[in-house]
């Protein structure tokens, strides 16, 4: 496999990998590093990749596992502390900004969701994979995915309604 072949193969889903990484790792730089790492891993294992039927699903699974590992690792824990400190200190200011921009508020709500719901919501509502593909990527059955997705969607809407009293009028 030459470099051009590889780029052609990877092009359609590299943004999806990046967005999933960003969903899980929050920070833009972390997500970029993770994506770079994943693509490098794919490149070094390009011989095996050719044997896979669905490289995209495989890469998404890899991304999920890699990011969850990152979150567990020490570096990421440090990152989390910094992040929450930041939130605590500027809570009131941030809330004001978020009230102004309710679309950004959605991402804050998603951040609070459990990891699995985040991943499923990302794959379904943003990347628009069908349930069969998601089941393959996450090694879960479709019913469990539907349940988690329903919970995530309901939580987001509940929070939005509570904060902004949307839909009450």
């Amino acid at each position: 496999m030459t470099q051009t072949d590889f780029v052609k193969l990877v092009m359609p889903f590299k943004d999806k990998v990046f967005r999933l990484a960003k969903r899980l790792l929050v920070s833009n730089e972390e997500a970029e590093d993770a994506t770079q790492e994943i693509l490098m891993k794919l490149w070094t294992n390009k011989k095996q990749i050719e044997a896979y039927k669905n490289v995209e699903a495989f890469s998404m699974t890899m991304t999920k596992n890699f990011c969850l590992d990152r979150l567990k690792s020490k570096q990421a824990q440090n990152l989390k502390i910094v992040h929450s400190n930041y939130q605590d200190n500027n809570a009131s200011l941030q809330k004001q900004l978020e009230l102004n921009d309710s679309v950004d508020w959605v991402s804050k709500i998603i951040e609070q969701l459990p990891e699995q719901q985040k991943i499923i919501l990302q794959l379904r509502d943003i990347e628009q994979y069908d349930f069969e593909e998601i089941a393959e990527m996450l090694d879960m059955n479709q019913t469990a995915i539907r349940v988690a997705l329903s919970r995530a969607r309901k939580t987001i809407r509940e929070q939005l309604t509570n904060t902004h009293s949307y839909g009450i009028k």
Binding site: Q3, F6, K14, D15, V17, F18, R19, K22, E32, T35, Q36, L39, M40, W43, T44, S102, V103, D104, W105, V106, S107, D125, I126, E127, Q128, D130, I145, R146, V147, A148, L149, S150, R153, K154, I156, R157, L160, T161, H164, Y166, G167, K169
Partner: protein, 162 residues
């Protein structure tokens, strides 16, 4: 689109039961400007999803490494082969069996010429042996002469003493 239908779809959506096609309809509905006010929270969600999908990975990924190590090893191998061939070329010994007909002829001619030269040299050496003999005789004569002069010395001493 009828609001009733949208509301029905949203209920299914909340339960995670919509198909991709139905979700596409919802997206299309919320992408337009006049959304029913009580559905505003959904509009915010769908707008966020649409925005997020625009995000792209722009960083470059360095993909080389393997190719270059291959070239490096090829050059190392080439140098090794060159040195080996040079070494064997220097060490090669030619024997008579390796020569072809013409070369063998030339070799024989040379040997014969050299033999001729050496035989002539030997002849010269035999004539030199005469000179050798002569010089031997001279040495003998010189010895006798020395004895004579010794004799005369002692004779003079005797005469002087008298």
């Amino acid at each position: 689109m009828v609001l009733n239908k949208i509301e029905h779809l949203l209920e299914k959506y909340d339960n995670g039961e919509t198909t991709l096609k139905e979700e596409q309809q919802l997206r299309a509905y919320f992408a337009q400007n006049d959304v029913a006010p009580h559905l505003e929270s959904y509009r915010v969600m769908f707008q966020y999803f649409a925005n997020t999908k625009q995000e792209q990975f722009t960083k470059d990924v360095p993909l080389q490494t393997k190719k270059y190590t291959l070239y490096k090893w090829i050059s190392v191998a080439a140098v090794a082969v060159l040195m080996m061939t040079a070494y064997f070329q220097m060490n090669q010994k030619t024997t008579l069996a390796d020569l072809n007909h013409d070369e063998l002829m030339a070799y024989n001619e040379t040997v014969r010429a050299l033999n001729l030269v050496s035989s002539k040299l030997n002849q010269g050496a035999t004539s030199l042996s005469v000179l050798d003999f002569a010089s031997n005789q001279f040495e003998k004569g010189e010895e006798q002469f020395n004895q004579m002069s010794e004799f005369s010395k002692t004779a003079n001493k005797i005469f002087k003493n008298k």
